[in-house]
């Protein structure tokens, strides 16, 4: 039993924090969000630091890491509210290609991805599907030597940035994955509440290349669990920032001639925030380590869904209380707290809200 990061993981997380301090503080982030919505310079640095290849197998130019290897990085990203398309590319994209791709596809895509030259987006969700991963209506048909896709994909993270899409579509009665060049799709981009870029995608007779075998649903579920575990770690980082900043505010903000942190009503509330954050951290540790070493699928599903429930509940409590304890200032765009609220609100929903995972957790226990 050991809850520490190993030396490599710790060094990596430390160097990410140093980079953030230097080049991605709240002001820098504000400029990025107000501008293009992502930073090509930051992305290059991520590639140089080896972050983009963390989940890429070593034989394809990466580190061959698991969820625990990415955990410290995600926490640091959470603290800083990094908006870069890291999760869709370096987690979802890298893992889908690494697990489903042919040798040729892996050789073509993964070194490029790890080197920061190729960004991916995973286009899966459709209207009405909510968080049900099996609900896919986009279709794939053979056309000569290749394949053609028809359908709509919604809320695709990093869609406006990605050069290549991984698209799920039905062929026969099975869900399959396809690689689609972004220029084959009509993409309507937008910003999510947390500043991250996303978009809706329309595929009309789009040229596609199969990625992996038929019946990709088990793989999709596994890879989404992987990303969910990482989002849990990111949420812990964002919650830690919210707790620290709120504590600092309670110590410095004076009313009635005393720091407001001297009021017991507020002390107990921040203690509950602090406990919620620690509980969430425990569950993120569970999700990431079970992601890397589970004995069976059921164990993985239970761990990830349990963690997501705890993180969603804690994120809600911590973000709401952080704003409340900051008072009116907490509501404004001027403070990072409000941006942390935005990210935590979306983290609570991302890859399934607490209710969805409660259902999944219970079903896996039967």
């Amino acid at each position: 039993m050991n809850f520490d990061y190993n030396e490599e993981q710790q060094l990596l997380a430390d160097s990410v924090r140093r980079f953030i301090q230097k080049d991605y503080d709240f002001e820098a982030r504000r400029k990025i969000v107000a501008g293009e919505g992502w930073s090509a310079a930051a992305w290059r640095t991520f590639a140089e630091m080896g972050l983009l290849g963390l989940a890429v197998p070593a034989e394809h130019g990466g580190f061959g890491g698991g969820a625990v290897d990415l955990m410290g990085v995600m926490e640091a990203f959470g603290e800083a509210l990094v908006v870069e398309p890291f999760l869709p590319t370096a987690a979802l994209g890298a893992r889908l290609v690494a697990r489903a791709g042919s040798e040729a596809q892996k050789n073509r895509i993964l070194p490029q991805l790890a080197g920061g030259k190729l960004k991916l987006a995973f286009a899966h969700a459709e209207t009405g599907a909510r968080y049900d991963l099996s609900s896919v209506r986009a279709t794939a048909k053979r056309s000569g030597a290749g394949w053609r896709l028809e359908g709509e994909k919604l809320g695709v993270l990093a869609a406006p940035l990605a050069e290549m899409l991984i698209v799920s579509a039905v062929s026969g009665n099975a869900v399959r994955l396809f690689l689609v060049n972004a220029d084959q799709a009509k993409i309507t981009g937008y910003r999510n509440l947390d500043g991250q870029l996303a978009g809706d995608i329309v595929l009309l007779d789009a040229a596609a290349e199969p990625l992996g075998e038929r019946d990709a649903l088990p793989l999709i579920e596994e890879v989404v669990d992987f990303a969910t575990a990482l989002v849990c770690a990111e949420g812990v980082g964002a919650m830690k920032y919210a707790c620290d900043a709120t504590l600092e505010y309670l110590k410095t903000r004076k009313q009635f001639g005393v720091p407001i942190g001297s009021f017991q009503a507020l002390q107990h509330r921040i203690v509950d925030m602090f406990i919620a954050c620690e509980q969430a951290r425990s569950m993120a540790c569970l999700a990431c380590s079970k992601m890397d070493s589970h004995e069976n699928e059921r164990e993985r599903v239970r761990a990830v869904s349990a963690a997501k429930i705890k993180v969603a509940d804690s994120a809600r409590l911590v973000s709401q209380e952080a704003v409340q304890l900051h008072g009116g200032m907490g509501m404004t765009e001027e403070l990072k707290i409000s941006h942390t609220f935005r990210r935590l609100t979306l983290i609570a929903q991302q890859f399934g809200d607490a209710d969805h995972h409660l259902e999944r957790f219970t079903r896996a226990g039967e």
Binding site: L247, H268, I270, D272, F274, I275, E278, S282, S289, S293
Partner: protein
Amino acid sequence: MDLSYSAEETAFRDQVRGWIAANLPADLREKTANYEHLSKQDLLRWHRILAKQGWVAPAWPKEWGGTGWNVVQRYVFEEELGYSGAPPLIPFGLMMCAPVLLRFGTEAQKKRFLPRIYNGEDFWCQGYSEPGSGSDLASLKTKAVRAKDHYVVSGQKIWTTLAHYADWIFCLVRTDPTLEKKQEGISFLLMDMKSPGVTVRPLILMDGGHDVNEVFFDEVKVPADNLVHEEGKGWTVAKYLLGYERMNTGRIGDSKRELAKLKEMSAPRMSEVRFRDRLSRLEIELTALEITNLRFLDRMRRTGQPPGADVSMLKIKGTEIQQTLAELMLQAADPADHARFDALARRYANMRKTTIYAGSNEIQRNIIAKMTLGL
């Protein structure tokens, strides 16, 4: 990061589990399973079985009968005891008075009391709270006046758990009422419950059970040899003990057993979404508590340091879980089965005490706010 137990730790757990299964008397197991009243003899019987095995006081130094287990082994042992449904080990002697004597007692005091605590010859209780001193413990008024080779103690204690079983009580008393700072002038005294002037009056709680008492002292003579640490240093002793107490309040093994039982009971209700969701949420709370507890143990093992004040969160979450378990169990019970329903209703009522005792959960929040967050 590796959340799993090592092969040695797993083997240790198997060994403990096997031994308990072979040595826990069936009638005692049955009694705890049905939440029946446990007599003094029941409690001492199990205590002595563990003492004979050499496992009754794992945390003590080896020379006094400790096992030399590390913090993880000790936790595994406690969890297994809780999970097995064994009668609880009453903490007042083993886990409260003894650590105080080991830390602050004289050699004579250790030799006199520790072996008797170990072997279950003396039953101890704790005299801390008073009618006017609950959360504000340092305001206590029971006075001890020094007269040559003894103290004369007068006053009243309340919420004294199992005082009606006890042979001895350790007490916080005020030896100097003149000092301005109320934490000063308090002393830690060991008192024989058979001394003239000691009266025990039961307090029946809302479950109808008799666990706690009022204890009255009317000019009780206590030999000065029974003072622990220096006169006026009782608050130092009390603080040492409170930190010790909080590490054991998660009661994860007990809660795991109760959860397993609850799941079994509620099988017919699993199609009811509202009930099922509450059960799942509770299970996740318990998992989060267990891992948080393991994180504390991992930190203690690596640093060799006692836990910080943030360990109070284990008390807060652990007791909330125990209460929710009791509540859901009552909801899962069949109201037409009077005997069972009544036992669970009483247990639900009884478990309300957990967020009040051992430093109320509000006090635990004060502790975290002050000591951990620096507010």
